[in-house]
Structure formats: structure tokens, C-alpha cells
């Protein structure tokens, strides 16, 4: 089962990796100590361990943290942790991963076991980091990093990756708003308004919106674009406010939680999948609430749309 799934889901193990995996000894049966050792005794045991295993777990934990934080799906995190741990000789690493937490354990030949738990707050995704960590893990598996320190150094570099500058994101938001406005049947003036609304909205999201909770910032963001679009409608820049708003709210749509939620559910990680789907659903709802509030207010003040 394990074998089949690895085959099926692994994105792209290099040939070397495939060979390596084949060479790996079969996974040792999971042996948990029968009774919980006393805390003092446990400390003694960990001191007796070779430092290596602890380091490896630390490394895979950091790798998992970075992946999960930046919008990777559960399966990828699991697979990457397994792959890196295997390469550094920890064959018995087990990982249990949720949307906002990682639990890793490993035991060695002597029967001593380690466990680590990490909490990961839900944050905005930055896909270039996922790409970089993915690359790193493949290079590790291909034998490019002999010492853990080197891999750690690379990981530190990835964590320090700046990502796109703010202006690029704001531009992306405006551009996507304009494009989607055109796609759904808007015309040139509407697309221009959507562009401005999209720019303004991300200016808000990346500025004051960062200090607010996600729910509030999405509601206010979609309310803001609705205000902008209705103002343009009032100024007679365009009669087609529907397409302006449709285009402008698109950058707010929670695409990453939605897609990853589907993928987690497809992989059988139901718990995380549901959490992410809920996150996406909440995003959709908040957009609807923001637009709804502004439109109701408009209707109340000006007495209905002229359509």
C-alpha cells in the first residue's frame, strides 16, 4: 500500500531517488515503548542518543514548517519529511501532519524514541518557497548535501527569500482584476475601473489589512472595491457595474486554500482538507458579505439601481 501510494503521488522522483528508495530497508515495525518512561529517565536516554537523529528531526521539522506555511498540500509535506529523514539514515521517522501542526517521531535500533511537535500559524502562501524547498529535498535525496549543516544553511536562505515585492503583488491584483473583467464579458472602461479597484484593494490588503483578522480584511476589501465600482457607476464612467465588481473581487478569492483543500481530500487527508475548504468557504462568504453590505447601503441611500 505504502509503496503503491508513493509511486502514485510522488511528483517526480529522480531516477537516483527511485533507486535509493528501493535500496532502503523495509520500514521497521513501529515499536513504541510499552510504558511511558519517567521524565528523568527519558532525559538520560536522549543524552545517550547520537546527536545526529535529533538534528535530522530538527531539519525535517523546519522543512515541513516552511512547506506547510507557504501553501503546500499535506501529502507533499509528508513525503518530503520522509524522503529527507530516510536520506540521513532515520528510517523510522513517522510524521502526522495537519493544516497547522506537524508531529514527527522516530525511534532507533535501541528502541529509544524521539518526538517533536510544531505549531504552524496559517499565513499567506508564497509558492516560490514551496518550489525551492521541493528542489532542496530532491537534491538532498540525490546526495548533494552530505552534512546537515549545509542543508540547514540552504534552508535558511530559502526562509530569507524575499518573495515578490509589494508593488508586484499590487500590480498582479490589478491586472488579474482587469483580465477577469474582460473574460466575464466586461468591456474596456469596466476593465479600467476593475484595474484601479484591484490596485486599491491590494494596497489596502497589504497595508492596513495586514493588522486585521483575515475575515475582517476580506470583508473590508470587497466592500472597498464595491464602493469604488459604484462610485464609478455614479460618475457615469460605465453603466455596467456588475462586471466591474465581478472583475475586482477576483483577487480576493481564496484560490490556494480551495485548491489545496480539494487535493488534501483527494489524497485522503480529510481533516486538513476540511479545514482548508472551510477556510476557502469563509473567504467566499466574506466577499459576498462585503459586496452585499455596500450594495444594500447604496440601495438604501439612492433608492435602487437603474437597470
Amino acid at each position: 500500500m505504502e509503496e503503491r501510494e508513493t509511486e502514485q503521488r510522488a511528483e517526480l522522483p529522480a531516477e537516483q531517488l527511485a533507486e535509493q528508495l528501493a535500496e532502503q530497508p523495509a520500514e521497521l515495525p513501529e515499536e513504541l515503548p510499552a510504558q511511558e518512561p519517567e521524565p528523568a529517565e527519558q532525559q538520560d536516554k536522549s543524552a545517550a542518543q547520537p546527536v545526529d537523529q535529533d538534528d535530522v528531526l530538527d531539519l525535517v521539522m523546519d522543512i515541513g514548517h516552511l512547506l506547510l506555511e507557504n501553501g503546500a498540500e499535506i501529502y507533499r509535506v509528508e513525503e518530503t519529511i520522509q524522503r529527507v529523514a530516510n536520506y540521513y539514515g532515520v528510517d523510522t521517522a513517522h510524521a502526522f501532519i495537519l493544516t497547522n501542526g506537524i508531529f514527527v517521531s522516530a525511534d532507533n535500533a535501541k528502541g529509544n524514541s524521539f518526538a517533536k511537535v510544531d505549531y504552524i500559524p496559517v499565513k499567506g502562501a508564497q509558492l516560490d518557497r514551496v518550489v525551492a524547498v521541493n528542489q532542496l529535498s530532491r537534491e538532498i535525496a540525490a546526495g548533494k548535501y552530505d552534512s546537515i549543516a549545509e542543508a540547514r544553511e540552504e534552508l535558511r536562505r530559502i526562509r530569507a527569500m524575499k518573495g515578490k515585492p509589494k508593488w508586484a503583488k499590487i500590480l498582479g491584483s490589478g491586472l488579474s482584476a482587469a483580465c477577469f473583467c474582460l473574460m466575464f464579458g466586461g468591456r474596456f472602461p469596466e476593465a479600467l475601473v476593475a484595474l484601479c479597484a484591484g490596485l486599491l484593494m491590494y494596497l489596502f490588503i497589504l497595508g492596513p489589512g495586514q493588522k486585521m483578522s483575515k475575515i475582517v480584511s476580506i470583508i473590508l476589501g470587497s466592500a472597498l472595491v464595491s464602493v469604488v465600482c459604484l462610485a464609478c457607476y455614479r460618475l457615469r464612467l460605465s453603466d455596467d457595474f456588475s462586471h466591474m465588481i465581478i472583475g475586482s473581487i477576483i483577487p480576493l478569492i481564496p484560490g490556494i486554500p480551495f485548491t489545496n483543500g480539494i487535493r488534501d481530500i483527494a489524497n485522503g487527508d480529510y481533516l486538513s482538507g476540511i479545514v482548508r475548504m472551510l477556510d476557502a468557504l469563509l473567504g467566499f462568504l466574506c466577499i459576498a458579505i462585503g459586496v452585499g453590505i455596500v450594495m444594500s447601503a447604496y440601495q438604501w441611500i439612492f433608492g435602487g439601481f437603474v437597470l
Binding site: E7, Q126, K169, G172, F180, R187, F188, I253, N267, Q299
Partner: protein
């Protein structure tokens, strides 16, 4: 202003198809996709959108079926490109799926709710839900294709390329 472009069916279609490509690229920027994947991501998104657009425009399929087919196409191309470019599928899948997510459906639902037209709001909301389900099923089906298949396809392609060059 530039209205003539929008009166003509051909130019309008071209504009909308290009908007699909650029919209996907804009999302790649928004989500911090590395620059070298922009072109492929835009193409995947553009092709998916074109498939939806053609099916819907020529009335070959209902909106739901059109979305489903376009999703299958986008997910398939994303996996193929992921193997080809050696990077996570997420990169292409997210940008490619975006044009198919019923953003307009949400708006129309709210719009009719505000207008007090409960029946129409319900219908629009339900359509949006059906589209989401079509996307979910489409992605799940393509993700279940064994990875071997894609590796095989991209290997064959590479060999053909090599042969072609020689």
C-alpha cells in the same frame, strides 16, 4: 473608446482568450510563483479557459459540464507540466483553475439577494455550488492518475525531441 474591438465577435473572442492567459499569469504574480513558470502557467490557464469558453459559447455543453471538462484539461496539463518542469503541480494548478472558479456566481447570488429576488439568488448560488463540485471532481479524477503515466509521457516526449534534433 476602443468599442469597435468589442462589437466584433472575432476580436472580442481574441480579447477574452488573451485575458484568460494574462489573468492566470497575474495570479502567478500574486501568489509568488517563480518568474520562470509564468509562461507555462499562463498557457495552462489560457487553454483551460479557452476550452470552457468554446464549449459554452458554441453551446456544446452546459456550464457545469464545460467547467468539468476544462478542469480535467487544466489538471492534466498541470501535472504534465509539473513533471516536465520538475516542480510542484500546485504552481500550475492554482493559476489554471482560477478562471473556472465561479467568482461571478458569488456576485450574482449577492446581487439578487440584495435585489430581493430570492428565487434567482438561490438558482445562482446553486449553480455556483455545482461549478465548485465540478471542479472538485475534475481535480480529484486527474490527481488519481498514477504518476508513472505522466513520467512516461514526458520521457517519450523528451526522446522524441532528442531524435528530432539529431
Amino acid at each position: 473608446m476602443m468599442d469597435f474591438l468589442f462589437e466584433n465577435t472575432v476580436t472580442l473572442t481574441i480579447i477574452q482568450l488573451f485575458a484568460g492567459c494574462f489573468g492566470s499569469i497575474a495570479f502567478s504574480i500574486l501568489y509568488g510563483v517563480p518568474r520562470k513558470y509564468y509562461a507555462v502557467g499562463g498557457l495552462v490557464g489560457g487553454i483551460g479557459w479557452a476550452a470552457y469558453f468554446v464549449l459554452d459559447y458554441l453551446d456544446l455543453a452546459s456550464v457545469t459540464v464545460a467547467t468539468f471538462i476544462a478542469t480535467l484539461l487544466v489538471a492534466f496539463l498541470s501535472r504534465l507540466c509539473a513533471v516536465w518542469q520538475k516542480c510542484p503541480v500546485t504552481i500550475f494548478l492554482i493559476a489554471g483553475i482560477f478562471p473556472l472558479v465561479p467568482g461571478a456566481g458569488i456576485y450574482w447570488t449577492v446581487y439578487y439577494l440584495v435585489m430581493g429576488n430570492q428565487a434567482e439568488a438561490g438558482a445562482r448560488g446553486f449553480t455556483a455550488f455545482k461549478l465548485v463540485m465540478a471542479i472538485v471532481i475534475g481535480i480529484v479524477m486527474v490527481l488519481d492518475i498514477p504518476n508513472k503515466f505522466f513520467r512516461m509521457m514526458s520521457k517519450e516526449k523528451r526522446e522524441e525531441d532528442r531524435r528530432g534534433r539529431v
